[in-house]
């Protein structure tokens, strides 16, 4: 078993922040993409329905 990382170490804390930032950016990109996709598909479905 390994010990939990010591986030009082500045280098570990920097790595943690970098990891959190990259995950947040990836999540934002996915959510933004989904918003655009849902908007486009809704418009297309409305067009097809009419």
């Amino acid at each position: 078993m390994k010990d939990q990382p010591d986030f009082s170490d500045p280098e570990m804390l920097r790595q943690l922040r970098a990891r959190q930032r990259s995950r947040a950016i990836a999540m934002a990109a996915i959510l933004g993409g989904m918003c655009v996709l849902f908007y486009v598909v809704t418009v297309v479905k409305m067009g097809l329905a009419s």
């Binding site: 078993m1 990382p5 790595q15 995950r23 996709l37 486009v40």
Partner: protein, 311 residues
């Protein structure tokens, strides 16, 4: 970042929150490429039209469903993956991801793919996609793989659904040609994976997975590769023989499936020596991937060229 050795990883605590790249690798992007391609070919080969945005959603949902079921597969098999060199560095056995996170990610991605497919494409596609996810995550991963050397044969059905889904996205039904495309992938899977298992069988044996070479020996496996390649040849020719595909497909299927069969004959009737490097098996495995891409690509080309009156 924490690194673990083989067999050690699963119980390791997290050193960091999992990176987004680890979530991506949990979806097995290499496998998704083939799934997306065959799904797209099913969609393009179907009669009729589909709005590009709806078609894109259908393919995206196929990819998401495949990714979700791959994540569930890795969640369930983390202990086994830790024992095999080929899989020991995956996110969970590598100690880079919490097992629960993989489970939640797999369920979330699968559920999202089904809802999107049902709402934006049609519910027949969503039902077939749900069946394929259940087939891979439960029937293959949990039920068949640890229990029977026929795991690959029956489990091969899991990867065979995408062209059927692609077809159903356009037509709203399932006819004989998509069933034959399903059968093509179904009968392609055993020789493809058994060729792989011949040169990684020591890994499977160590993990206790009853792959055919481990349970029945290499001689039986080689004969089975040959026999399934004959069935594959017949299945590949069926769309042309039944007048569901044109001459370009027919000629290509004859040549490519003939080459596949020739490679399978070489693998099927030889005995390996300690230092031969398993070259024929590796060659068959590599060609089998190329084969499937070409067969589906040529089916689509045949469809459009015939439609355009060029064939």
């Amino acid at each position: 970042m924490a690194q673990t050795s083989i067999g050690e990883g699963v119980a390791s605590p997290l050193s960091m929150p999992a990176d987004w790249r680890d979530f991506l690798s949990l979806t097995k992007p290499g496998v998704i490429q083939l799934v997306v391609f065959t799904g797209l070919c099913g969609l393009l080969a179907a009669p009729g039209t589909i709005h590009p945005a709806i078609g894109f959603v259908a393919i995206l949902c196929i990819a998401m469903g495949a990714g979700g079921s791959a994540a569930l597969n890795q969640w369930y098999e983390a202990d086994v993956d830790a024992l095999m060199e080929r899989t020991a560095r995956r996110p969970i056995p590598g100690g880079r991801m919490d097992r629960d996170a993989a489970l939640q990610f797999g369920i979330g991605l699968s559920a999202a793919s089904l809802v999107m497919m049902g709402l934006f494409v049609n519910w027949l596609c969503a039902a077939i996609l749900a069946l394929s996810i259940f087939y891979y995550a439960v029937v293959y991963t949990i039920w068949l793989k640890p229990r029977t050397p026929q795991n690959i044969v029956i489990g091969g059905g899991a990867g065979a659904f995408p062209p059927v889904i692609g077809w159903a996205a356009v037509t709203g039904d399932v006819t004989l040609l998509p069933v034959l495309l399903f059968a093509l992938i179904f009968f392609w899977t055993p020789p493809h994976f058994w060729a792989l298992s011949l040169f990684v069988k020591t890994d499977y044996a160590r993990a206790g997975i009853p792959m055919l070479p481990v349970v029945a020996g290499t001689k039986v496996t080689r004969r089975q590769i040959f026999l399934y390649s004959i069935v594959l040849f017949a299945t590949a020719m069926a769309p042309f023989a039944l007048d569901l595909a044109g001459r370009l497909y027919g000629l290509s299927a004859l040549l490519l499936s003939g080459l596949f069969l020739a490679l399978a004959v070489h693998v099927g009737f030889r005995s390996e020596t300690a230092d031969d490097g398993m070259v024929p098996e590796k060659r068959l495995f590599a060609f089998s991937i190329f084969y499937l891409f070409l067969m589906f690509g040529l089916l689509v080309a045949d469809h459009y060229l015939t439609q355009a009156g060029w064939l």
